[in-house]
Amino acid sequence: MSTSTTGPDRTARTARRPVQAAPRGVPQSPLEESGRGTRWVVAIVVVVAMLWTLVPLLWMLLSSFKNSADVTAATPQFLFTPVLDNYRNLFTGANNLWPYIWHSVLAAGISAVLAVCLGALAGYGLARTQMRGKKHLAFWIISTRMAPIAAIVVPLFLIFRGLGLIDSIPGLVLAYLSFNLPFAIWLMSAFFAEVPPSLEESALVAGCTRWQAFRTVILPLTKSGLVTTFVLCLVFAWNDYAFAVVFSGPNSQTLPIAASQLVTQTGIDWGQLTAIGTIVVIPMMLAGLAVRRWLVTGLTLGAVTGE
């Protein structure tokens, strides 16, 4: 009996006790105290990283609008009259930039599209197949991406020469694909693994074939993965110099090759070089911004209970 009477009393006393706020200025918890210091360190690191990335780009962009005297001036010119001479010179004359841009667009675009299509199919298979040694297979696929380009350039060159693919867009596409496809398979496989298998099972029960389930249910859910993979493959191929310098020729030279041709033994045309650099960087920066939007999108939210 005594237990039952003291119980409610104790509860009542606890309920009446006033809740005291922590004194102003005193940290609420050790975690919060350490959090402030950490925040400052993070802020400093972010500012340094941002300057490290943006200053060269800004220097390149500004230099591309300077005349040759301002570009090569011993004292950096921050105030100058912007001119379009460097860009005009790139697109006029016998050796203008248009063919290089076209080759870059074709080689990078086609290889990225193929990498995404084939990578999605293979990645789906890899994510869903239950077989012995699956992890080893997945590692083997990605390990082919780990080899330095120099290690595979010579054997590829011999194969391409035998197949007549040197100095051709298909040759460049194939070269980029050899490097991008393992990456695309690996990345897409990770995205497919995130999709609950019950979604495609539900589609199969609803009357879909395996292909229909993949197309109508799984692919739309991995849209962010497809876009991310496409842009990353595109950036790699667009920026590539090593493959292009070995496999391309007059009929297939890309933008990085055009940039390299401005560095000659008699001198460097800094104005045109920075203008090409700007032309190369801007489309990829825009693509990067697009990836940023998709990367953070969790399309599978709400797919299963509790999410």
Binding site: A203, G207, G302, T305
Partner: protein, 371 residues
């Protein structure tokens, strides 16, 4: 609507020698609500997935109606399935989710819209048709999953623990709704759950599985009153049946200071088995509290360690008091007692099994012995 037949259906997972489902024989009548129940890993979900065509059948066959569907792909089986996680398509609206199967079947848009709206009305989902699944609560998502199955108008509904993600109150409410809906639609339904209360309250019949083997299939009351073996006896019922292995002396079983006379049939079965031990089981509600004046050989003393007062019921959890046998002292005896005058913790109460309510099982095979 169709009859479903499992004929020695077997599934052995690659790399395993033990079948996940071992020669399952089940005949589910047209329009029946059959519940597959059992502990985790007993093969109940595998059995359901075999029927759905999502799991290969390694032996035996499965038929829906007159068709042998053993090796047919899921899309050709004319079934609808509600998954444990609902498996709603997050990129589609509720209406598109519900009408997805009809779109795949190339049903006209008008007909599709009509059937979706009809199901939405039935499930009180009309106002959510344009929403995406992530904007719904757990209970609403569950109803959408049900709606997706209903719209299809299939021959068989398959449900794989569809209530396990709901909170306790909603689960009780929804299980009544599902049972009612199934009754109204009259579609043959196979329902998987690990919750024996869900099984007992929803199914026309309940099939109990353990280690891939069907233990018993019967009506809920049949399973409760006439369990075929010790496993079913212990699994069905909450609180579970009191079970203990005791010595047989002469024509009586001796436990906790009590002696209960065995019938001639039981003794004959024990003699054939050559055993002097038997498993005795009794439900918590099949004992009565007796006063000291009514003490006889068939009564036993229990010390109450916990008393659960639930309002409408009260359950005593205790230990045999009148014994020194360490095995008996470890056993917990559960008894339903008068909720208006329950004993206190620490009290010693005298109990008696209601005559004819004790269940006896073979100590070697676990099977029910004739009473």
């Amino acid at each position: 609507m169709s009859r479903v037949l499992y004929d020695e259906a077997t599934r052995i997972y690659p790399g395993s020698t033990q079948p996940a489902v071992d020669a399952l024989d089940l005949d589910i009548a047209d329009g029946e609500f059959l519940v597959l129940v059992g502990p985790s890993g007993c093969g109940k979900s595998t059995s359901l997935r075999m029927l759905a065509g999502l799991e290969r059948v390694d032996g035996g066959r499965i038929a829906i109606g007159d068709r042998d569907v053993t090796h047919l792909p899921p899309r050709d089986r004319d079934i609808a399935m509600v998954f444990q996680n609902y498996a709603l398509y997050p990129h589609m609206s509720v209406a598109d989710n519900m009408g997805f199967a009809l779109r795949v079947m190339k049903v006209s848009k008008d007909e599709r819209d009509r059937r979706v709206l009809e199901a939405a009305r039935l499930l009180d989902l009309e106002e959510f048709l344009d929403r995406k699944p992530k904007a719904l609560s757990g209970g609403q998502r569950q109803r959408v999953a049900m709606g997706r199955a209903i719209v299809r108008e299939p021959q068989v509904f398959l449900m794989d623990e569809p209530l396990s993600n709901l909170d306790a109150k909603l689960r009780v409410q929804t299980r009544t709704q599902i049972a009612d809906l199934q009754h109204r639609l009259g579609v043959t339904t196979v329902y998987v759950t690990h919750d024996q209360v869900e099984a007992m309250t929803m199914g026309d019949r309940v099939a109990v599985l353990k280690d891939g083997i069907l233990q018993q299939v019967d009506t809920p009351l049949g399973l409760y009153q006439h369990p075929a073996n010790v496993f079913v006896a212990g699994f069905i019922g909450s609180p579970s049946m009191n079970l203990g292995e005791y010595r047989v002396e002469g024509d009586e079983v001796v436990f906790g200071g009590a002696r209960v006379r065995l019938t001639r049939e039981t003794l004959k079965a024990l003699k054939e088995e050559g055993s002097d031990r038997v498993i005795l089981g009794f439900r918590p509600e099949d004992v009565t509290m007796v006063g000291d004046g009514d003490q006889d050989d068939a009564t036993f003393l229990v010390t109450a360690t916990v008393v659960e007062e639930l309002g409408s019921d009260a359950f005593l959890y205790g230990q045999y008091a009148d014994t020194t046998d360490p095995r008996l002292l470890e056993q917990t005896v559960i008894a339903r007692v008068d909720p208006n005058a329950p004993p206190a913790k620490g009290d010693r109460v005298r109990l008696r099994i209601v005559p004819g309510k004790g269940r006896l099982f073979s100590a070697s095979t676990g099977l029910c012995l004739p009473a």
